[in-house]
């Protein structure tokens, strides 16, 4: 069977760089860092700018981000007034790492301090990990396949990949997809710190010799994906194409990546094969690049395994140097940052990269953004990687319009 092509027609983001996909793209490209005192909150986000009191009370902070990013993405796609397709053919797949952890913690405090009778009747709908996709489905009347995916820090990319398959196979004409996370809570901080995953210095400097862990951030990214023929028929503005998707499991360790990056490399290779492209076609890599010792070393090896000599010729940068690590939202936010960078034919910088580490010898785009070196005028192609605890690896292959 012939698979449908999948195009990106709208993007929306709430990130530590501001409210809006444009803020994410322009501020990262300008070298702005959204990290403050060792964390990356969405300090510019005011919930009442985006929804009613009732809607806000019925959404965990993670879902509030998803709603705001979703509104932006649908408006960007020209869907603000009505869906361009039969609602039963429009799906929603969102990723999250944890779900409504602030809701869980607050209600647990209430349970401990006041007793079970005081636990909120809204606790379950707020804390459930599928709250984000449910909220967007309700808000926009999306009646196709609607669910959430949970794969730690790979969830955003897995959600997009799943949405792509739905459209390719005709299960949906369009899918609203992405990821959301709001993990800046006491338990989440303590738990990630206790496993030595968080940066003690509070600095996110992926691939730098001095990197000492990730900086936790919050936010959401939402994309509108459409069947390419349908989008062109309705005259949609097309930002780019999701050319390929690869997903693998390490089966190695619950938190550590396989040392040589084999699982990540396979995800990249599968994504390229799925796209019908070769390493020579890749112009840029948006790395997972968490700023942990283990990830950045394994990812560098994975890039060399998957791309061979091409890995040394192309720019590789990490959005997390500007936003911190948005866990289950990271893959979605980074897919948006990647497609906008491809559109503008630039490689945004790995902010703060200064000291090379032994063996980490790729071009990590230190300093400032730079133009992509594109041959023969073809639309720029990138890989965007996401790797999660549990050995989950997901790679998207994106191409500018």
């Amino acid at each position: 069977m012939t698979l449908h092509d999948v195009v990106i027609t709208g993007v929306g983001a709430v990130t530590p760089l501001g409210v809006g996909a444009r803020e994410l793209h322009e501020r990262w490209a300008a070298g702005v860092c959204g990290i403050c005192d060792g964390e990356a909150p969405c300090a510019d986000f005011t919930v009442t700018d985006h929804m009613t009191t009732k809607e806000a009370r019925r959404a965990d902070r993670s879902t509030q981000f998803a709603i705001a990013a979703g509104d932006e993405a649908l408006a960007d796609a020209g869907w603000a007034d009505e869906l361009p397709y039969d609602a039963e053919l429009v799906g929603c797949v969102l990723g999250t790492g944890i779900g409504g952890i602030a809701t869980i913690e607050n209600n647990h405090d209430t349970l401990r301090d006041t007793g079970p009778g005081a636990v909120s009747p809204l606790a379950v709908p707020l804390m459930m990990s599928n709250a984000g996709s449910a909220a967007l489905s309700l808000r926009h009347g999306l009646r196709g396949p609607v669910f959430s995916v949970v794969s730690a820090c790979a969830a955003g990319s897995h959600a997009i990949g799943t949405a792509v398959r739905m459209i390719q196979h005709g299960e949906a004409e369009a899918v609203v997809t992405g990821g959301a996370e709001a993990p800046l809570t006491p338990l989440s901080r303590a738990a990630f710190a206790k496993m030595n995953a968080l940066s003690a210095s509070g600095i996110s400097r992926p691939f730098d010799a001095r990197r000492d862990g990730f900086v936790m951030g919050e936010g959401a990214g939402v994309l509108v994906l459409e069947n390419g023929d349908a989008a062109r028929a309705r005259g949609a503005r097309i930002l780019g194409t999701v050319r390929g998707y690869g997903s693998t499991g390490d089966a190695h360790h619950i938190t550590a990546p396989q040392k040589e990056g084999r699982g990540g490399a396979r995800a990249m290779t599968i994504a390229l094969q799925d796209a019908g492209l070769t390493p020579e076609d890749v112009d840029y890599v948006n790395a997972h690049g968490t700023s942990t010792q283990l990830n950045d070393r394994a990812e560098t090896l994975a890039l060399k395994l998957a791309l061979g000599e091409r890995a040394r010729e192309i720019p590789v940068s990490s959005t997390k140097s500007a936003t911190g690590h948005l866990l289950g939202a990271a893959g979605a936010v980074e897919a948006i940052a990647t497609i906008l960078a491809l559109r503008d034919r630039i490689a945004p910088p790995t902010i703060g990269w200064e000291e090379p580490d032994e063996g980490l010898d790729l071009d990590y785009v230190p300093g400032t953004a730079r133009p992509l070196a594109l041959s023969n005028g073809k639309p720029a192609v990138a890989l965007s990687n996401s790797f999660g605890f549990g050995g989950h690896n997901a790679t998207l292959c994106l191409q500018a319009a």
């Binding site: 009613t52 009191t53 009732k54 809607e55 806000a56 009370r57 019925r58 009778g117 005081a118 909120s120 009747p121 809204l122 709908p125």
Partner: protein, 82 residues
Amino acid sequence: MATKTAPQDIETTVMEALAQFGADPDVLTRDATLEEVDVDSLDLVELTQVIEDKYDIDLENADFKNVKTVGDVIDLVVERVG
């Protein structure tokens, strides 16, 4: 809380709770139907929690079976608090 509670106090409690849940204050009157002020089953469970906590009474879902308006809710609570 076994002492007599003024109906006005209960009305204020209910109105304040519904407003806090997000009901539009402009349409929040005794005569408004629960549908008109966008109060659904989850709001009623939350309201029950507020009332049980404040007046030390037990309310069941079934108690709200015949409730149509905001005034009906207030009257129900006034009756139960006695």
